[in-house]
């Protein structure tokens, strides 16, 4: 009788010597993460955390249009989240650590999947490929991701640490700091480029996460692409409006 699924056939692989890796049983979560499908769950979940963050971040920044008092008050509110249940800034730091953890996992999963994919086709096609379905966004995820990563590092040094903000950085004066940094055209252009890269990343990422998580249902499948376009557009339009508003002197420091 044929072998059963629970007691697999004696391992004959690799007959053709094509196995690029051998599986070992690991503790539960690491076991899931050790497979490519598992890493895609991690990509999707950390991606959702990231999308949630950029949406809230963008909405929060819209306070810029209400003036310095509102904006600085909002910045202070973030430090006082859940006070007095938790001491001041504790919630903010927990959120920050979650985001840093998510981004590190997202990068590690992307990196190891890229290595796996390289191994899966060590010899490239020697003639030109003619792609039918893959789009610009899906083909450039690694590049748009790297641009966004570099931007995040710059952005943190600029407006959180203040080291790249120029001479005028004052902790707590969030509105002034933002206007001062975006008043430099080169910086404003970098912000715009990075946000367009983020939009391209999300155009594929938002659609892709439904597939990766196995969220597929004829009732909503046809809306997945629209959801991706909608979220990407919302975030790009919102975020790009800030450097433009500062350059156009719509948002400025009143002297």
């Amino acid at each position: 009788m044929a072998s059963t699924i629970s007691k697999p056939a004696p391992d004959r692989s690799p007959v053709t010597g094509t196995a690029t890796q051998k599986r070992k049983r690991k503790p539960f979560l690491l076991d899931i993460y050790s497979t490519a499908v598992g890493k895609k769950y991690v990509m999707a979940i950390t991606g959702i955390i990231g999308i949630g963050f950029v949406l809230v971040h963008m909405i929060g920044n819209l306070k810029m249009y209400l003036g310095p008092a509102e904006f600085d008050h909002y910045a202070e509110f973030l430090r006082e989240l859940l006070v007095p249940i938790l001491p001041r800034t504790v919630t903010l730091w927990l959120l920050r650590l979650t985001l840093i953890g998510a981004i590190l996992l997202h990068i590690h999963a992307a990196y190891s999947l890229t290595i796996l994919n390289r191994k899966a086709r060590p010899v490239k096609y020697q003639s030109e490929r003619d792609y039918v379905a893959a789009n610009f966004a899906s083909r450039t995820m690694r590049w748009s991701g790297i641009i966004v990563l570099l931007f995040i590092i710059w952005h943190l040094l600029d407006l959180t640490a203040g080291t790249l903000n120029g001479s005028g950085f004052v902790r707590g004066h969030a509105y002034e700091n933002v206007v001062n940094t975006l008043d430099r055209p080169a910086v404003a252009i970098f912000y715009i480029i990075a946000n367009i890269a983020l939009g391209i990343h999300l155009f594929h990422g938002v659609w892709s996460l439904f597939q990766s998580m196995g969220w597929s249902n004829p009732r909503f499948n046809k809306w997945r692409r629209e959801a991706a376009i909608g979220i990407a557009t919302l975030i790009v339009v919102g975020n790009v409006s800030f450097p433009i508003a500062v350059l156009a002197n719509i948002v400025k420091v009143k002297s």
């Binding site: 009788m1 044929a2 059963t4 699924i5 629970s6 697999p8 056939a9 004959r12 692989s13 690799p14 007959v15 053709t16 094509t18 196995a19 690029t20 890796q21 051998k22 599986r23 539960f28 076991d31 899931i32 497979t35 490519a36 499908v37 598992g38 890493k39 895609k40 769950y41 999947l113 796996l116 994919n117 191994k119 899966a120 086709r121 060590p122 010899v123 490239k124 096609y125 020697q126 003639s127 030109e128 490929r129 003619d130 792609y131 039918v132 379905a133 893959a134 899906s138 083909r139 995820m141 659609w207 892709s208 439904f210 597939q211 990766s212 998580m213 196995g214 969220w215 597929s216 499948n221």
Partner: protein, 257 residues
């Protein structure tokens, strides 16, 4: 019938698995537009043999698009420019006179090239071996409709079972992933009542075996576009869903000790 004139073929020639390989050019002065792509290669091979040269090696069998033996990357597309057809169903009328056609084998570490355009696809067998079947001895064919299966469910399972295992999905995938093949083989059993007993053990075993040989899915959708049977990306989502569930199942319900 019309004839297509003066086709230039740029064909990958490789003497064996260890050889580096190179493109060689061949001229096909005239071929009927009713000829299939493989028949065109047959005609060329006849001529090469008559000239005392070695024929181009390529996989083929049924030549009616149901066996999954033929392959070929034609002008950068798996199974050529026509949608939902295997290379054997690709007609020369899809090309024009004086065209240059580039022909390459599937390329993936899991599909080593044996000679010229022929690759070894037995990595697929490794995936099937660990779960692409139903264990229970079934005896003779049961009476029709003994197990009630709603028509839409049977249709969906049949959509997955259409997979002929040609490997175009892997060949077309920029990452060399076999998710479309594996998901189709999982889905056509997981959707039917007969497949439920081993549903999650099957999914876990096949996904993890796939992982040893192939790349990972980044949801480009090239596989679906290249598939001669039009297998849907939805099956990949179903596989991802069942793999996730399999990991959270009580280990005993997977009949694992």
């Amino acid at each position: 019938m019309e004839a297509i004139q003066n086709i230039t073929l740029k064909v990958w020639r490789q003497d064996g698995p260890a050889d580096g390989g190179r493109f060689e050019n061949y001229n096909v002065p005239e071929i009927s537009d009713e000829a299939s792509f493989l028949e065109m290669l047959d005609v060329l091979n006849e001529r090469l043999i008559n000239e005392g040269k070695e024929a181009i090696v390529f996989d083929h069998d049924c030549r009616e698009g149901i066996c999954g033996t033929c392959s070929l990357m034609i002008n950068g597309q798996a199974h050529g420019p026509a949608r939902m057809t295997a290379t054997c169903q690709l007609h020369m009328r899809k090309f024009a006179s004086n065209d240059t056609i580039v022909v390459e084998p599937w390329r993936a570490s899991a599909f080593p090239i044996l000679k010229d355009l022929m690759v070894d696809r037995s990595a697929f067998d490794r995936i099937i071996e660990v779960g692409g079947f139903i264990t229970a001895p079934t005896g003779g064919a049961p009476d029709a409709n003994l197990i009630p299966i709603p028509k839409p469910v049977a249709d969906a399972a049949m959509d997955a079972a259409e997979c002929i295992g040609c490997g175009a999905c892997v060949a077309a995938c920029p990452n060399g992933a076999a998710n479309l093949f594996t998901s189709a083989k999982i889905a056509h059993l997981n959707m039917l009542p007969q497949g439920q007993a081993e549903r999650f053990a099957r999914t876990e075993a096949m996904v993890e075996k796939m992982d040893e040989h192939f790349g990972s899915c980044t949801n480009h959708g090239e596989c679906e576009a290249a598939c001669p049977k039009g297998i849907s990306l939805d099956f990949i989502a179903l596989m991802n869903q069942d793999y996730r569930k399999s990991k959270f199942k009580n280990r005993k319900s997977l009949s694992r000790t």
